[in-house]
Amino acid sequence: MKNAANKKFRNLFLIMSIIGPGLITVNAGNDAGGIATYASIGAKYGYKMLWGLVLITFSLAIIQEMNARMAVVTGKGLSDLIREKFGVKWTFFAMFILFIANFGVVVADFAGVASSMELFGVSKYISVPIVAVGVWLLVIKGSYAKVEKVFLAFTFVFFGYIISAFMAKPDWGEVFTSMATPTLPLETGFILAFIGMIGTTITPYMQFYLQSSIVDKKMNIKDYKYEKLDVYLGAFWGNAVSFFIIVSTAATLYKSGIIVESASDAAMALKPLAGQYAFILFGGGLFGASVLAAAIIPLSTSYAICEAFGWESGVDSSYKEAPAFLGIYTFIIALSSIVVLIPRLSLMGILIATQQIAGMLSPIILIFMIILVNDKRIMGTYVNTKIQNIISITTVVFIVSLSVILVLSSLFL
C-alpha cells in the first residue's frame, strides 16, 4: 500500500519535473519585442490579425514539438545536429542567421529596459548601462539562477491583460468572427506587422533554447508523452497571453484611434484593470521581461555557436578557457546596449523592427529543422508524420511568401 502511494508520488514528481521547458520558453518569448508588437497590432489593426495568431499557434506547437522530439531522441542540441548533418559551411550560415536574429531581439530587450524605465522617469542613458553591466555581472558571477525567478515573477503582470481584456468589454462576436476569417490586405504596413507577429512568436532563438533545455533534462523516450504535453501547453498558454494583449489593446486603443508610439500608449490598455496604476504595472512587467530575455538570449546564443564549432563553453569558465564563449556573450550585451543609447532613436520603432527581422529570418532555421527531423539516420522511427510536415512546411512557405510579397510591393507600389 505504501509502495503504491510512493509510486504515484514519484510519477507526479516526474511529470512536474518534465513540465517546464516548454512553458518557460514560450513565456520568455513574450518579451519586450513581443509585448510591443502585439500591442501595436491590436491598436493599429484591431482584431484583423487574430486569425493569423490562431494559425501560428498551431505552427508553434508543431515546431516546438519537433524540437522536443529531436532533443529526446538524439540527446543533442540543435546546433550539434546542424553541424553533424550539414558540415561547416552551412553551420556557419545558420549561426550567422541566428546571431543576427538574436542580436536584434537583445537590442529590443534593451529598448524594453529603456522604455519601461522611462515610464518611471529614468533616462535611458542611466537605466541601460546599469542593466547591461548588472546582467553581465550576474551571469558571469553565477548568481543569475538565484535572481531569475524574481524577473520571471515580474512577467506575471502580463496575465493582467487577460483580465483587462474582459473588463474592456470587447465585442466578443467580432472577436470570434475575426479569428475565423482570414483577411490579408496587400499593404506594406499590414504585411510587415504580420511578419513581426510571426517573428516574435516563432523566434529562432526559442528553437535552440528549448531543445537544449530539454536535452539537459536527460529524459527517456518513454517519458516523452509528458514533454509533448509540456510544449503544447506552453505554445497555447503563451499565445493565449498574446491573444489577450491584442484583444485588450484593440478594445481600448483601436476604438479610440490611438496608435502605439511609446510604452505609455501600450500601458493604457491595462487601464480597465488597473486605472491610474496601469503605468506602474506595465512598466514593472516590461522591465522584468526585458531583463530576463537580455540575460537568457545572449547566453543561449553563445552556447549555440560554441556548441556548433566545438568551442569550450560555460559561465564558470575563465576567459582563457573559453574566449569565444565569453567574447560572444560580452559582445552581444555591449553592442546591443550601445545601439539603444543612440540619441533620438524611436524605442518603439526598434522594438517592432527587430521582431520583423526575426520573422523574415525564422524560415531559414525552420528549413534546417525540417530536414533534420525527417532524416531517418538521425531520428529513426521518430521522423515527422505527414501532418507535421504539412503544417511545418506550410508555415515556412507562408512566411517566405509574405516576405517576397513585401519586397515586391515595396519595389512596385
Binding site: N3, N6, K7, R10, T74, G75, K76, D80, R83, E84, G87, V88, K89, T91, F92, V215, K218, N220, F309, G310, R377
Partner: protein
C-alpha cells in the same frame, strides 16, 4: 605538379577526379574506410557524377598539387575496379567529419573539423584529426586570408592535430562491436576522466561507451559520476549487469544509488548479489543521509587485538588487497568490540614478538554510526586522521569512514543548500 603524400581531406572533398587519360569522371565525394588494421585504411572512394554514385577501389589513387594548394586527383589505372559498398560501411565525410571524438591524450570531447590522410607504404590511411580553428577556416575556404590577417596582428594559427593513436571515434556508425575490440581506447584512461567524458556526451554515446566497459571499470566510472548520471545509466542496464556492477562498488556508494531508485528494482538487484554484499548494502541503506553510518565502507583490515605482530604480517600477505584499503589496521576483541586502531607502518617496523595491543601508538578515536557528518569531520581534522572507525551502540566496529568520502558528501550537502 608534385605528388602529395599527406594532406587534409577537405582539400580534395568535392573536387574533380580524373581517370588515367585525364578526363574528369566526377567529383570525389567520400572515402570509405577499412578498420581491420590498427590505423584505418581507405579502401574505396565515392565518386559522384550528377546524381549517380560510383564506388571504386582506392588502389591507384594519386594526388598531386601545384604548391598553391590546387589539387589534382587521379585514378592511375586503365580499369576502374568497382567495389561493393554497404550502407553499414564507414564513410569519412558522412560518419566522421563534423562528429565528435574523444582525445585520449587531452582527455576531452572534441569535434572533427578536418581529417589528415597520408600515403603509408602504398595505402592511404587516416593519420590525424584536426580539431582546431584553422580546420574550420580551411573548410570555409578562408584559411590563407585568415592567416594573413592574423599575421598583421602578430598572431599565429597553428593546426591542432590529434594523432590517430589518441583518437576514439564516437559516431553512431561505429557499431558496438568495433568499439569493443580494436577501437576501445577509453579503457586506458582513468575512471574519473572517463566519467567526465561520458557526462559531456549525448545519451546514445553515453550508453554505448558505458556498456562497452567491463564490470570492474564500469563500477569505478559509475562511482565517479554525478548522481543523476548514475541513475540514468543504471536504468539502461539489464538487472544482472547492474547488480554485478553495484556489487563491485564500495557498499556505501551502492547504497546511495539504490536508495534513489524504485524499491522494486532495488530489491531485484539486491537479491541477485551475494548475500554478504547485499547485507552490507542493506545495512547502510538503513542510515539517515547525513550520518557517518551512511558513508561508511566495510573495506577495512581488522585483527583481534592480542594477535602477535609476526602473525599479523603473515596474514596481511594473504589478503586480497583492495584499492580502497587505507593505512590503518583496526583492532577488536573476540566479540568484535572496538579496541583501537594503529598505523600500518607502526606495525611493519615493530618487534614481531609483540602483540598488537602492546603497541604504544594505538589510537582510540571513533564515531558512532548515528553521529552527524560534521562531528566526524571535526574529529578527523582535530586528530589529522584520514579514516575514522565507526561503532554501533554496542561499541562494535561496523565500518570505517574516510575523510575523502566525508569531504565529498560535505561539499555536496553545502552545494544543495546553496
Amino acid at each position: 605538379m608534385k605528388k602529395s603524400n599527406s594532406l587534409f581531406f577537405s582539400k580534395i572533398l568535392y573536387k574533380n577526379i580524373s581517370d588515367v587519360t585525364g578526363s574528369i569522371i566526377g567529383k570525389l565525394s567520400d572515402l570509405i574506410l577499412d578498420f581491420s588494421s590498427t590505423i584505418p585504411m581507405v579502401k574505396a572512394i565515392e565518386i559522384k557524377n550528377g546524381k549517380r554514385k560510383l564506388y571504386v577501389s582506392s588502389d591507384n589513387l594519386e594526388i598531386h598539387h601545384d604548391g598553391n594548394s590546387n589539387y589534382l586527383i587521379k585514378l592511375n589505372t586503365k580499369t576502374l575496379s568497382v567495389m561493393a559498398i554497404s550502407y553499414d560501411d564507414f564513410f569519412v565525410a558522412r560518419d566522421f567529419l563534423d562528429k565528435q571524438i574523444v582525445d585520449i591524450n587531452g582527455k576531452k570531447v572534441e569535434r572533427v573539423n578536418d581529417v589528415m590522410i597520408g600515403l603509408i607504404r602504398g595505402d592511404w590511411k587516416i593519420v590525424a584529426v584536426d580539431i582546431g580553428l584553422r580546420g574550420i577556416l580551411r573548410r570555409l575556404g578562408i584559411e590563407y586570408p585568415a592567416i594573413l590577417f592574423a599575421g598583421t596582428i602578430k598572431k599565429e594559427f597553428r593546426n591542432k592535430l590529434v594523432y590517430w593513436e589518441n583518437v576514439q571515434p564516437l559516431s553512431e556508425r561505429i557499431s558496438s562491436l568495433q568499439l569493443f575490440t580494436s577501437m576501445n581506447r577509453l579503457t586506458t584512461m582513468h575512471a574519473a576522466d572517463i566519467a567526465d567524458i561520458i557526462e559531456e556526451l549525448d545519451k546514445q554515446n553515453q550508453i554505448k561507451i558505458f556498456h562497452s566497459l567491463d564490470n570492474e571499470k564500469a563500477a569505478q566510472v559509475l562511482e565517479e559520476m554525478e548522481e543523476d548520471f548514475q541513475l540514468s545509466l543504471l536504468e539502461t542496464l539489464p538487472d544482472e549487469k547492474a547488480s554485478n556492477i553495484l556489487e563491485i562498488m564500495p557498499a556505501d556508494e551502492a547504497a546511495d544509488i539504490l536508495e534513489e531508485i524504485t524499491n522494486e528494482r532495488a530489491e531485484r538487484l539486491l537479491v541477485q548479489m551475494e548475500s554478504e554484499n547485499s547485507t552490507d548494502i542493506r545495512e547502510l541503506m538503513e542510515y539517515d543521509e547525513k550520518t557517518a553510518g551512511s558513508l561508511m565502507t566495510k573495506d577495512y583490515i581488522s585483527f583481534v587485538a592480542n594477535m602477535r605482530i609476526g602473525m599479523v604480517l603473515e596474514e596481511l600477505k594473504k589478503l586480497d588487497i583492495k584499492e580502497s584499503f587505507s593505512q590503518y589496521i583496526y583492532l577488536t576483541n573476540e566479540k568484535d568490540i572496538f579496541v583501537g586502531f594503529v598505523n600500518l607502518l607502526d606495525v611493519v617496523v615493530a618487534d614481531p614478538n609483540l602483540k598488537l595491543n602492546e603497541l604504544a601508538s594505538i589510537s582510540k578515536i571513533s564515531v558512532y554510526d548515528e553521529n552527524k557528518i560534521d562531528k566526524a569531520m571535526d574529529l578527523s581534522r582535530k586528530y589529522n586522521l584520514l579514516e575514522l572507525p565507526v561503532l554501533d551502540e554496542n561499541q562494535e566496529l561496523v565500518g570505517v569512514v574516510s575523510l575523502n568520502d566525508l569531504l565529498e558528501e560535505y561539499i555536496r550537502l553545502r552545494r544543495s543548500v546553496a
